[in-house]
């Protein structure tokens, strides 16, 4: 433990308006901390630069799930366990359910929040590709009010987001229009549990008579931000799923990703596996129920 607790302030105002007011009064001074599964690791390592933290753990306004007729609103303070336990997430947003199971171990799932995962903005985060393919929208809130932004633009560059210094994520909104899609996700790590991903894929697709009607592919750990493979999607859409298309998909995906060599893996491995994951998805898609 390499931090000196006496040098840190942590306050827990117990209501969202009070938190927002604090953030507004001193924008950029207070770092929100939810479950702490990322920030406390940095803190313990002596790497947390911020000295003032405001707890948003367990705020009822943030830790809630609302199911509307056309939309599900996931409070940013929901933990991964909350997501795993929620029936609608399990039945309609399988990719988020899967990602929640893969994020750390049970103890970290009980504390890690989806909002924290997004704001921490590690490109290796497991749930972010799922949010990309579900074309999520974020409700951001501050003392100035709320705004709704598409998640697709939220990550500006490596670990930088559109979040203003006085803002929090209030909720993640998902349209309830994915029941007809074939959903698939896969995480590739150094081991079967408790692994930071080397590559991960979240994918949605619709096929009819062996032709790709629609396809969405998003990956983590292959770029500075979670990446939607737009070019690969375009190359595959409307095409027949045969051996030739698999090769095209593999090549395009491997070329579209921008992985690096790092302590966990190599760029060439990540690129190759990215291509393999897309092909694996297409093979499953071609064997799946056609869209009606």
């Amino acid at each position: 433990m390499r931090a000196h607790p006496a040098q840190f302030e942590l306050v827990a105002p117990q209501s969202l308006p009070k938190v927002l007011s604090l953030l507004a009064d001193e924008p950029g001074s207070w770092c929100p901390i939810a479950g702490g599964t990322d920030l406390m690791v940095q803190y313990s390592a002596g790497n947390l630069r911020t000295r003032k933290l405001v707890s948003i753990w367990n705020l009822p306004e943030l830790r809630r799930m609302d199911v509307f007729e056309d939309e599900v609103r996931i409070g940013a303070g929901c933990t991964f366990t909350d997501l795993r336990n929620h029936a609608t997430i399990g039945s309609e947003f399988k990719l988020i359910s899967l990602a929640a199971q893969w994020t750390g171990g049970i103890a970290n799932q009980n504390r890690g929040t989806i909002g924290g995962n997004i704001v921490n903005a590690s490109p290796a985060a497991d749930s972010l590709p799922a949010l990309l393919v579900y074309e999520a929208e974020l409700i951001l809130i501050s003392a100035r009010g709320e705004r709704r932004v598409p998640y697709s633009g939220f990550h500006v560059s490596y670990r930088k987001t559109q979040l203003a210094p006085d803002e929090l994520i209030l909720a993640i909104c998902l349209k309830r229009e994915y029941s007809g899609y074939y959903a698939h996700a896969r995480k590739v790590g150094a081991r079967n549990a408790q692994a930071i991903s080397k590559v991960c894929l979240a994918a949605l697709g619709k096929q009819r008579k062996g032709v790709v009607e629609e396809i969405r592919l998003a990956m983590g750990s292959v770029a500075p931000v979670p990446l939607r493979l737009v070019a690969t999607e375009q190359a595959i859409t409307g095409k027949t799923m045969n051996e030739g298309l698999m090769q095209v998909a593999r090549r395009m995906a491997a070329a579209e990703v921008q992985p690096i060599d790092d302590i966990r893996s190599t760029a060439r491995y990540r690129a190759a596996v990215a291509g393999n994951l897309v092909v694996e998805f297409l093979e499953q898609l071609s064997a799946s129920e056609p869209s009606s």
Binding site: M1, R2, A3, H4, P5, A6, A45, G46, R186, V188, A190, R191, N192, A193, Q194, A195, I196, I263, R264, S265, T266, R268, Y269, A272, V273, N276, L277, V279, E280
Partner: protein
């Protein structure tokens, strides 16, 4: 005595209750009044001269205790085989993370900042970072030639047989460093007072090693140094020699400050600064007849010892002696050396050189099989040692071990043939590629050659005033069951209840030196001494007339109480004597290297995922002949735990080095298998007995580290048809090799070549 009532049964773990209630006391659980916390300023460069040390003015250094080499009362070294390793670097550093200065403060939170506030100016010198660089000798970093130790083992006519060879098979194999990753980090508490002297409590395997090192460092006589082992949260060899260093540091701070000092490492420090398994490189060149018999060979075995000698000669010795495995070599030359590099010194880790040389050998056997056109099973059966034959050092195999039969049993238990056939048939179509792999190994228990004689271990068993009995040994418990098994042995000998036997805490003031807790010697060697000492107690009681031939446990207790009341203390001591048939020539490195070998067959089933190149072990059979199983649950636990570590050695645990410093020193980035990664590991035993071991037991703690890694890599070759000769084998490496192979195959088919 009749049939064993306690030995051979799974009695409750001696200290188990304390462990499941959280009452067991590990060193960081202990707090002493007025205690300070200590920490270490360490080198940031691999090698160089220390020019200047500066203390930032932003801290009030008067609050700190600071220890530098000038404060060392005795010799600035951590005494082990040699005195070359400084306790604190004095003027020069030879590896990253080398200790330079010590700091202590009453508030442990002050220390990390204080360490950053000390700046050291260096004049860097070139470092040496691989075995090959060390061998080139362009930079001499240790001694005159960078070589800590070398051995030459020769048997037969070592140059004569090459011409008879139908095949000459060559191969080079390497293994990486492996971090022991005991879940409890290294820690020590030291106190010093002028009357009592120095006392240290800590997480350790060998109290008398620490004792000896502290005497020299602190210039204190034996009776004024006391070392006490606390409950130790895993060790695996990683706490064989390193504790002497951290104890030395705590002691120096305690002596300077006059206060108790606790030093506990965090995970990063423990991983980057302490010992690991020696990386190795083995080169085989083997002459083989066309029917698959080994005619002879040359084996070159080299290990990377890091910056100081520490235990490297002993690791080298064991690795060299095991390099020929369980096979008959009519002629062999084994050249072994341990070289210096600019990294923290490597050290003991379960297996201690044997996993390294046996990895190479067992991979090489499969290579030989392929060249000759035989199966991995056939090549081994043809070459297995038989009773009456001699090992590579000329030791005669005296027991009726039938390795062919052991292998057959393993093949049956693992359903080897059926699975291998099924996989061969299915692999072309199936997504996952599956394979089966075998390794057959041996492991010598106890210290090599004359080692046990030099240790001259002593144990005692004594009667307590309440009629109970107590074992006194310096052998330590760190999960493997030392306390349980030694108490079982005494209870069995004396015919009392297991609950009537206790064991003293390993405290150098209280217990005799029964040697270090290493080399799989505790049950076999120390246990046998404890058995003798217990017999001595019984003999004395019978001779004194207080005990008749047949008695109940209650009568035994009464007899003990009566004896003590009349004669005073009753303590029976047993001293190790080298059996006459264990004769070893230390000069020529020939003779009987070990009092007993345990033998094992390991069979792995793997599946390789073609999408991710991940290898998973789907099933694992561990079959071993161990003399006698004294405690089924503990013995099984040792095998399963060892196999799990060996699976990590083979497939997961990579130390990423950058100029001598481990870069992935966190549990997030140094990958050991979780519960979700291991298959069911199926364990089976055979028992041939062992006249040199307690109740016929052989040492088994390290055996399971020797075979699984090559069995797994052999299985991967079976699955993919590609040979991998280096571990850990990560998916990235498999991808690179398969990708290259694919390109070569494509080129060949394009060019029309065959």
């Amino acid at each position: 005595m009749g049939n064993a009532r306690i030995v051979g049964t799974s009695v409750p773990r001696f200290e188990g209750r304390a462990k499941v209630t959280g009452e067991a006391l590990y060193v960081d659980d202990m707090v002493l009044p007025g205690m300070l916390y200590g920490a270490t300023v360490r080198s940031r460069i691999p090698r160089g001269k220390i020019l200047k040390i500066a203390f930032s003015s932003e801290l009030d250094w008067s609050e700190f205790v600071i220890v530098s080499p000038e404060d060392i009362p005795g010799k600035n070294c951590i005494a082990l085989l040699e005195d070359d390793q400084p306790c604190l670097a004095d003027g020069a550093v030879n590896h990253p993370e080398e200790p330079i200065l010590l700091l202590a403060h009453p508030n442990r939170y002050m220390l990390p900042k204080a360490i950053s506030a000390v700046s050291v100016q260096y004049e860097p010198q070139p470092g040496v970072f691989t075995i090959e660089e060390s061998e080139r000798k362009t930079e001499i970093i240790w001694g005159t030639d960078n070589i800590f130790k070398s051995y030459l083992i020769e048997k037969g006519e070592v140059d004569e047989f090459w011409e008879q060879a139908d095949f000459i098979v060559e191969g080079e194999y390497s293994t990486g460093a492996q971090e022991q990753l005991y879940i409890e980090n290294n820690g020590m508490i030291a106190t010093f007072d002028r009357q009592q002297g120095l006392t240290v409590w800590g997480s350790l395997q060998c109290p008398f090693y620490v004792h000896k090192a502290l005497m020299k460092l602190c210039n204190l006589p034996a009776e004024r140094v006391r070392v006490v082992q606390m409950e130790t949260g895993g060790a695996f060899g990683g706490k064989e020699d390193y504790p002497s260093m951290i104890a030395g540091h705590a002691a120096l701070l305690a002596m300077k400050s006059g206060k108790p000092v606790k030093i506990i490492y965090d995970r990063v420090e423990d991983m980057v600064a302490t010992t690991k398994r020696h990386p190795s490189r083995t080169r085989h060149r083997t002459a083989v007849s066309k029917d698959g018999r080994i005619l002879g060979g040359e084996i070159e075995f080299t290990i990377d010892g890091g910056a100081y000698k520490t235990l490297s000669p002993v690791v080298l010795s064991r690795g060299a002696i095991h390099a020929g495995g369980p096979y008959f070599w009519p002629h062999v030359r084994i050249r072994a050396k341990a070289v210096a590099t600019s990294a923290p010194p490597q050290g003991a880790f379960r297996g201690f050189g044997a996993p390294q040389s046996l990895f190479a050998l067992e991979r090489h056997m499969d290579r030989i099989a392929r060249v000759v056109g035989l199966s991995p099973v056939e090549i081994r059966k043809l070459n297995f040692l038989k009773p009456g034959q001699t090992t590579t050092t000329g030791q005669v195999v005296r027991e009726e071990i039938d390795l062919e039969k052991l292998l057959d049993r393993g093949l049956e238990l693992s359903d080897y043939y059926a699975k291998k056939q099924k996989f061969q048939d299915g692999n072309a179509e199936n997504n996952y590629k599956r394979g089966m792999g075998i390794a057959t190994v041996l492991h010598g228990a106890g210290f090599t050659g004359s080692g046990e004689r030099y240790l001259a271990s002593v144990v005692a068993v004594e009667v307590c005033a309440d009629g109970g009995v107590r074992v006194l040994v310096s052998s330590t418990e760190f999960g493997q069951g030392t306390k349980t098994v030694l108490c079982q042995i005494v209870a069995e000998v004396l015919g009392v209840r297991y609950e009537d036997v206790g064991i003293a805490q390993a405290d150098t003031h209280e217990v005799p030196n029964s040697g270090p807790t290493v080399a799989s010697r505790t049950v076999m060697v120390v246990g046998k001494l404890v058995q003798s000492a217990a017999i001595g107690i019984k003999q004395t009681l019978v001779a004194s007339g207080m005990l008749v031939d047949s008695y109940s446990p209650g009568e035994f207790r009464a007899a003990c109480r009566a004896y003590v009341a009349e004669h005073g203390a009753l303590r029976s001591v047993a001293r190790y004597e080298q059996p006459e048939d264990i004769v070893w020539d230390e000069e020529k490195y020939r003779g009987s290297a070990y009092a007993a070998f345990a033998w094992a067959v390991y069979i792995a089933e793997v599946a390789v995922d073609p999408t991710t190149y991940n290898v998973s072990v789907e099933d694992f059979v561990a079959l071993q002949e161990v003399g006698k199983v004294l405690h089924p649950v503990l013995a099984t636990g040792q095998i399963v735990g060892g196999v799990a570590q060996a699976i990590g050695f083979a497939l997961y645990e990579k130390v990423v080095w950058e100029k001598g410093r481990m870069q992935n020193g966190q549990m997030t980035n140094y990958i050991i298998p979780t519960s979700a990664d291991l298959p069911s590991i199926r364990v089976y035993f055979e028992e041939l007995g062992n006249e040199h071991g307690a109740y016929g037991a052989k040492g088994i703690g390290e055996l399971p580290m020797d075979g699984p890694a090559p069995a797994i890599i052999n299985a991967v070759e079976d699955a993919l048809g590609v040979s991998f000769d280096s571990i850990p084998l990560l998916p990235e490496e498999i991808y690179d090799v398969m990708h290259e192979k694919l390109k070569r195959d494509e080129l060949r088919s394009v060019s029309g070549a065959e």
